[in-house]
């Protein structure tokens, strides 16, 4: 029993990191209607940036955090203007392919310049672990869980209760109607994209302390995040959070009691079944 609780708790951490990637993706998906296959490379870029600041330049992780998040937001700002806006009217598939091109460009570039070396990693400043009723969890994991959930909660609140959030929901619902009622749709698009990439920045920052930093770091989280987004309901922050945490726990339990190498296969099968049972996602509504 203690073992199961341990696996489940660990799964929550895993799930929280998935959620952090997924919430940014769900916004871009739900509001801008871009199947953003490049979201993972932003996570990767953020991880490299974190490494550069913390390990190469010796900054404190807490000081580096806002810099990484803002830098990624700015990157999003540039990308939205240069790549996605010019393609705005040529359809979702064109946007998806453009995202794929961005993915290849950034990943290819990073592999050329940093790929030949061993994977980097950022060590977490706080060591140690906490014990809760026979279950050991490292301090790092507890903090990651709290940070990820806090960021998601703030986002969910902002979408529901701020003026910008209301405008965002209106644009997601019907861009033309939003435009007629005086909402600056381009402006909403731009800032949603910036927020999404900033969230990818936070995800990359946290992941950098967990996993080896390679040009492919964002691939696996992105695929899982895509599934979470659609199962959770496109554009739904709450849906993505619930589904993401659940998937993390399931994967962790499967790895603990079954076979690690089959756990992801089973997760993907669950995604397939869940989508078919609820074609519009568990949350049903968008944003």
């Amino acid at each position: 029993m203690g073992l199961a609780v341990g696996y489940a708790l660990n799964g929550l951490v895993l799930g929280a990191l998935y959620v952090l990637v997924a919430v940014g993706l769900t916004l871009v998906f739900g509001v801008l209607r871009i199947p953003h296959f490049a979201h993972g490379v932003f996570v990767m870029v953020a991880a490299y940036l974190t490494f550069a600041l913390v390990v190469a330049m010796g900054w404190n992780l807490l000081v580096a955090a806002p810099v990484v998040i803002v830098a990624l937001g700015l990157l999003g700002l540039v990308l939205e203007r240069v790549v996605y806006r010019p393609l705005g009217r040529s359809g979702e598939l064109a946007l998806m392919l453009a995202a794929f091109a961005v993915n290849q460009f950034v990943q290819g570039g990073f592999q050329k310049f940093f790929g030949q070396e061993y994977a980097r990693q950022v060590s977490f400043p706080l060591d140690g672990s906490v014990s809760l009723g026979g279950v050991t969890l490292s301090v790092q994991r507890v903090i990651a869980l709290v940070v990820a959930l806090a960021a998601t909660a703030v986002l969910a609140w902002a979408v529901r209760h701020t003026k910008f959030g209301r405008a965002t929901r209106a644009v997601a619902e019907d861009p033309d109607a939003a435009r007629i009622s005086g909402i600056n749709v381009d402006w909403v698009h731009r800032w949603v994209f910036v927020i999404a990439t900033a969230l990818a920045g936070l995800a990359g920052l946290l992941l950098a302390t967990f996993v080896p930093i390679t040009p492919f770091l964002g691939d696996q989280p992105l695929l899982v995040a895509f599934a979470i987004v659609v199962v959770g309901g496109m554009g739904s922050v709450v849906g993505a959070t619930v589904v993401g945490l659940a998937l993390g726990v399931v994967e962790s339990l499967l790895a603990g009691f079954g076979s690690q190498s089959w756990s992801s296969a089973v997760v993907f099968l669950i995604i397939f079944v869940a989508l078919i049972a609820r074609p519009n996602g568990v949350q049903g509504a968008r944003v």
Binding site: R89, S90, A227, F268
Partner: protein
């Protein structure tokens, strides 16, 4: 000739319309003989083993892309499971011929049938969803199948794969091009023969009465239903046929490379096919084949760029998308 899908412009409130430059078209009765002649004389032009290999690889990509084209041009759905169906064909052919259970031709038939069957099994539940949900449902299935290829070691060989798959028994068939190049010509002709057959199937299915029903389904399923057609059947039939063609492509690949391993049947395999169809013009079979050729040949000439190849290729893809957007072609 082939229809390019051009849904009605979205709300005019989104901004000024752009003048659309029409997609060039050529009727099948001229294009097909031309294509046959081109395929026939190609080995005389590419009179060396390397170019023949590149041309054969282009043909293999073209078959898979044509399978995807049927799905995108027909019901208008995108499938990430096609890498998996491609793999089903490759593995079934490999398992049957390596163990000498069947000879090549019946094994290819069984491989195609197996792909179709898996397509039906996946399609019945998956087609309850539409557009992006469908894409992600098939993404889940594609990832699952890739995991099966890599994990079911006793059947697929796992990451070790299946080696020594016999090639199609083509030796002894007289071929004019072999005057110039000994090896590889027969494989080239075999692969491109399949390309032409699948291409004609594409055109026929998408243009004929069946295709018209598919097109109408995209506009209004209710309307089609009220006319006495069953939209679900049409969608499933197209999906299963498309999956079968992907498996056929996989079988051709397996015998050509003589080896199958799990890395070649992932969602990225499906993504490549989607890229080809999207650039080729969504439902435009000829454009799909032309794009498959260009996308196989261009990277070969980027070898001088060494490891920058991936980056340059990404820029080229974006330029193509930008050009299409400027021409007002919807993707």
């Amino acid at each position: 000739m082939t229809e390019t899908i051009s849904p009605p412009e979205p709300g005019t409130a989104r901004g000024r319309r752009r003048r659309r430059i029409p997609v060039p078209r050529l009727p099948l009765r001229f294009a097909l003989p031309l294509a046959i002649v081109l395929v026939a004389v190609a080995p005389l032009v590419f009179a060396d083993a390397y170019r023949l290999r590149v041309a054969t690889a282009a043909g293999l990509l073209a078959i898979l892309a044509l399978a995807m084209n049927l799905l995108i041009g027909g019901p208008g759905e995108i499938s990430f499971a096609h890498g998996g169906f491609y793999g089903v064909g490759a593995y079934v052919l490999g398992i049957l011929t390596v163990g000498n259970t069947l000879s090549f031709w019946p094994a290819l038939l069984v491989a195609t049938a197996a792909g179709t069957a898996v397509g039906v099994a996946v399609g019945i539940p998956a087609l309850r969803t539409r557009t992006l949900s469908f894409a992600i449902a098939t993404l889940g299935m594609g990832l699952f199948l890739a995991n099966v290829f890599g994990g079911w070691t006793s059947v697929t060989g796992g990451s070790v794969g299946l080696a020594n798959i016999p090639r199609a028994p083509l030796d002894g068939i007289p071929v004019p091009g072999s005057i110039f190049v000994q090896s590889g010509v027969r494989q080239f002709y075999l692969v491109w023969l399949v390309v032409l057959v699948v291409l004609v199937l594409n055109v026929v299915v998408l243009r004929g009465g069946f295709g018209n029903v598919l097109k109408s389904i995209k506009r209004s399923e209710v309307l089609v239903e009220s006319l006495g057609f069953r939209p679900g059947f049409y969608r499933l039939a197209t999906f299963a046929f498309s999956a079968g063609l992907a498996a056929l492509a996989g079988g051709m690949y397996a015998q050509y490379i003589s080896f199958v391993g799990p890395d070649n049947f992932t969602i990225f395999t499906a993504f490549n096919a989607i890229v080809v169809v999207a650039i080729g013009g969504l439902g435009n079979a000829w454009g799909t084949v032309a794009t498959a050729i260009v996308l196989t040949v261009v990277p070969e000439y980027l070898h001088a760029l060494d490891d920058y190849r991936v980056v340059v290729f990404a820029v080229l893809l974006f330029v193509v998308l930008r050009v299409r957007a400027a021409l007002g072609w919807r993707t």
